[in-house]
Symmetry: C2
Amino acid sequence: MAKKPDLDDFRVPFFDGGKKLKPFDLTSVDCSAKPFSMGSKDLDRMRLSEVGAALDELQEKLHAQRRQRVLLVLQGMDTSGKDGTIRAVFHEVDPLGLRIVPFKAPSEREAAHDFLWRIHAQAPMAGELCIFNRSHYEDVLVPRVLKLIDEDECERRYRHIREFEALLADSGTTIVKCFLHISKDEQRARLQARIDDPTKHWKFDASDLEARKQWDDYQQAYSVALGATSTEYAPWYIIPGNSKTHRNVMVAELLLRTLQALKLEFPPAKESLKGIKVE
Amino acid sequence: MAKKPDLDDFRVPFFDGGKKLKPFDLTSVDCSAKPFSMGSKDLDRMRLSEVGAALDELQEKLHAQRRQRVLLVLQGMDTSGKDGTIRAVFHEVDPLGLRIVPFKAPSEREAAHDFLWRIHAQAPMAGELCIFNRSHYEDVLVPRVLKLIDEDECERRYRHIREFEALLADSGTTIVKCFLHISKDEQRARLQARIDDPTKHWKFDASDLEARKQWDDYQQAYSVALGATSTEYAPWYIIPGNSKTHRNVMVAELLLRTLQALKLEFPPAKESLKGIKVE
């Protein structure tokens, strides 16, 4: 039997504090790889269901304890499967304990603040498992590709992001960040599928085709982002995502490991309640 | 075969615009009734799973359309099963399309505003299905029972609530409100179960026992609230809730009917996408 893969093999090396940005080479990870697959789609779905049930239990303890916070950041190119991942991974998890925050282009009011203002307002509170569907990273990636900010500003923003994430981490937030990694061919197929199926047209935005023309620029911008902001307290993981079931299983396994490491337990029983009879 | 029950038989009569508050007689509905049960717990769970799948489909259309909004308000005495209802009814529904808003006692900052300020901020936006786990009603019920506000103020607040809900409804929000109705005996059993099981102590708050001492006052305050704020655009339904599976099925059926009435469809295909080949 093959050696069980290690999630940490897919972790982006930590930012080393150097002055210059060191992009992470995305081509070093095969989008079509399925290291965490159980061998077939059906087996993957079974495993996902198992892990989902375990996540549900851990999340209940997180909620009961109301002390720690967990933040999962999902990023990726258009059609990389952010929505699908949320749907699949959290299917078994009590919706009460989840908060999913989708970030779109900032509103006029949001844009009138610093770029982390609207993000900070949505940070998880004690006992919460929060999922950012897109995030503060968009506010560097998009302006960078559109050349609205230069490299210096880009560098400054990534420093602000590192410090912001350190603040959250120091306050009891466990952060894990996933880059859903698909190939350009896979994106073509997924966009084409949306165009060919009229019932999926609502998911389709003409700007997706524009962004696709800048595929290489976005990959480059992501390389910089990943290299500049993977830290011990907020690591980035590259999730090979051409296979949807693999992507789902891998994100679920990563979150499972993350929650297990928190050693969550139900709060201790209250001695004061012993023997009380309700009237 | 018995006549199929009608959800509207459990709807609180609409507020008639009269000057005096007309309490709804809660004792007229049997908490132990199971009119929407399929005959056994197992059959109820099967039905819930069916309805859940239908809700998931409808919610996807709501989300795709991004036009209408839906607000489900859940109220009830402590242990009446608000959390359990959310967990069970929305198990099949994509968490992406849900937003669950729990309301606790107002914070100092919230209390420094009018009582609807924090509620308004959480109103559903286009395409959202929002669930209020407790709501603005707490901000009348609790102060009324604690005698912090008099009957006149109570009346004024219910007028403000009617007008606030009318504003939401006029702006495309479909509102449905459920009172989860349990008996005093059932509450005793549920509180006792929490006390007797140390792993459930975290759910238990000593103030629950205090509130229980004021059971009759709360029932009376609810009677007033229900009578004063059941309207055509924001009706209240009484959900017999001593049986958990019945409660879940009934809330699910009510929401299913509500969403079906919206005649939700996926947005029309975009002609402009016809024949496009992605490069």
